[in-house]
């Protein structure tokens, strides 16, 4: 384990909204390449905040402060240009957010158009087909690529958003409770998809659903009151939690 450089590493990462209260306290952890890591914890424990810090989302809000380091392939993202970091780290949000004024086709390519990258028509077609196939949406939408993304069902929209993130070939894909707004069948589709995708991309997923964490993740983090309480192999964490608080959470006593 020591020999592989982690693709993502938290080093005493802190995030605070005000001077007094820290939402994330000194989190340190290393994420291996091509794994799915689930971040769990009761609401308000800082799991989303930690995830969003990896994409430098806090930079959009002037009163949020970060401390420590987050290393992406060994480079501290806090000292990089946010737009470069974000182009290499994809993100999928709780509610599906296809851009309402763009077609399905343009939605997949929105990462390029937003970054001002020009592509030829054949390049575009190739990317759209590859990404939509990646998220198992191609067969469903290949005849309606010019329709607005908002016409799709919730699950399809979320898969479109994943495709949009994958189009940029990110190193890491962040997912903030991506199935919480979806029905069970759509959730199952997304979970199967993530297991496929981990061959290509390292996934960090925030979830409040322990079943989901168990089904898809290889590693799990448990956070409580801003601290990373326990981090390890998902099976071990669920079967033999070392910390009392983890045990309490897993048995439903907190959360």
């Amino acid at each position: 384990m020591e020999s592989i450089t982690p693709i993502l590493e938290f080093k005493k990462t802190c995030v605070s909204y005000t001077k007094q209260t820290m939402a994330v306290k000194y989190v340190s952890a290393a994420i291996e390449k091509n794994t799915i890591t689930a971040i769990m914890g009761p609401s308000g424990c800082g799991k989303s905040t930690l995830l969003r810090a990896v994409n430098l989302m806090h930079n959009l809000y002037p009163n949020i402060r970060v401390d420590g380091e987050i290393l992406l392939n060994g480079e501290n993202i806090f000292s990089m240009a946010p737009i470069d970091v974000r182009a290499r780290v994809g993100m999928v949000f709780q509610r599906p957010t296809p851009f309402p004024t763009m077609s399905i086709y343009d939605n997949v390519l929105s990462g390029f158009s937003l970054n001002g990258i020009r592509l030829s028509k054949s390049e575009k077609d190739l990317i759209v087909e590859r990404c939509l196939k990646n998220v198992a949406l191609w067969d469903e939408v290949k005849d309606v690529l010019n329709k607005k993304g908002t016409f799709l069902s919730g699950g399809q929209q979320q898969r479109l958003c994943i495709a949009r993130a994958l189009a940029m070939k990110p190193d890491v894909l962040l997912m903030d409770e991506p199935t919480s707004a979806l029905d069970p069948i759509a959730t199952k589709h997304i979970e199967e998809l993530l297991l496929e995708l981990q061959k290509e991309v390292t996934i960090l997923i925030v979830t409040h659903n322990m079943g989901q964490a168990m089904r898809i993740s290889s590693h799990s983090m448990f956070m409580y009151l801003g601290e990373l309480i326990e981090y390890g192999d998902t099976k071990n964490l669920f079967s033999t939690p070392r910390d009392e608080r983890t045990k309490a959470y897993l048995t439903g006593k907190i959360g």
Partner: protein
């Protein structure tokens, strides 16, 4: 493959600066206007400016020949404005509130939708047209300009403003408020008078203040209705002056140019105070 990060960041910064500069420039006219009116108007303000009517042509000429300050003030305009505005308010406030209640309670009914469109139409009607129409309606049949005609013109201008603010305030009240009142056995009149209107008081009141500040500076609709008058008068069926009308007169009279700024300062202070006050009260009552 990726276009230059640096180039994009510079462009982003440049746009931000451009927006800040242009937005700041937009604030310049306000301070330029305030500055001009204050500096020129301040020197003219005195007690007699508010208590005396506009000077006659003879007195003005005399003062100019002797190199003295032009005597007189804008008392006739102030009294006219108060008279016209009060008459307009007495009618516009109750009718406006009643219409606002009607629109808030029947928002889905077809008749109410037509009324809503017509209220928008009225609100967008240029003030000069309100002046013409009031002239045709009132001045022609009464065979003369009058304070009544002026107040009817201002009434037409105030009405849609009061209707909209009342309607909007009532609409954002929680429906539970009305339901709770009705559940206690009150009929709809009582619930409206005892529960809904008191809860909406802040919004309705600030709406009225804003409506006053909008119409008090109106000149065009008064030119063809109240006409103007150079002495203090209290009758409502004769021509009467108003502060904006006086500014217009001073503007057109080469001998009275000096008095423009005092009258403007008075009007501007009044309008902006009402504006700031209504904004402050709105924020305070919203908390």
């Amino acid at each position: 493959m990726y276009s230059k990060t640096k180039h994009r960041l510079i462009k982003d910064k440049a746009i931000l600066w451009g927006i800040c500069i242009l937005a700041t420039l937009t604030a310049v006219p306000l301070f330029a206007i305030l500055g001009e009116v204050f500096i020129n108007g301040y020197v003219q303000l005195s007690w007699s400016f508010f208590t005396e009517p506009t000077p006659t042509a003879y007195k003005t000429m005399q003062a100019i020949e002797n190199g003295e300050r032009i005597p007189g003030g804008i008392a006739n305009g102030i009294i006219g404005t108060i008279l016209i505005l009060n008459m307009a308010m007495i009618v516009a406030i109750p009718i406006g509130i009643l219409c606002g209640i009607f629109l808030s309670e029947n928002s889905k009914n077809r008749f109410a939708k037509i009324i809503s469109y017509l209220t928008d139409l009225l609100q967008g009607t240029p003030s000069v047209i309100v002046g013409i129409v009031t002239y045709i309606w009132i001045v022609v049949p009464m065979k003369g300009y009058s304070a009544i005609a002026g107040s009817i013109a201002l009434f037409i201008m105030m009405l849609p403003l009061i209707i909209r603010s009342t309607e909007e305030t009532l609409k954002i009240l929680p429906t539970s408020l009305k339901e709770a009142g009705l559940a206690l056995g009150g009929n709809r009149v009582r619930v409206m008078l005892k529960v809904q209107l008191p809860a909406a008081f802040g919004g309705v009141f600030t709406g009225i203040l804003l409506a006053i500040s909008r119409v008090i500076g109106e000149t065009a609709p008064l030119m063809f209705t109240a006409l103007g008058c150079s002495f203090i008068r209290w009758s409502i069926n004769k021509p009467i002056s108003a502060v904006p009308l006086l500014i217009w007169e001073f503007f057109n009279d080469p001998y009275l140019q000096d008095m423009i700024w005092g009258a403007s300062l008075f009007l501007l202070l009044f309008v902006l105070t009402l504006n700031v006050l209504s904004k402050y009260l709105k924020r305070k009552w919203n908390q």
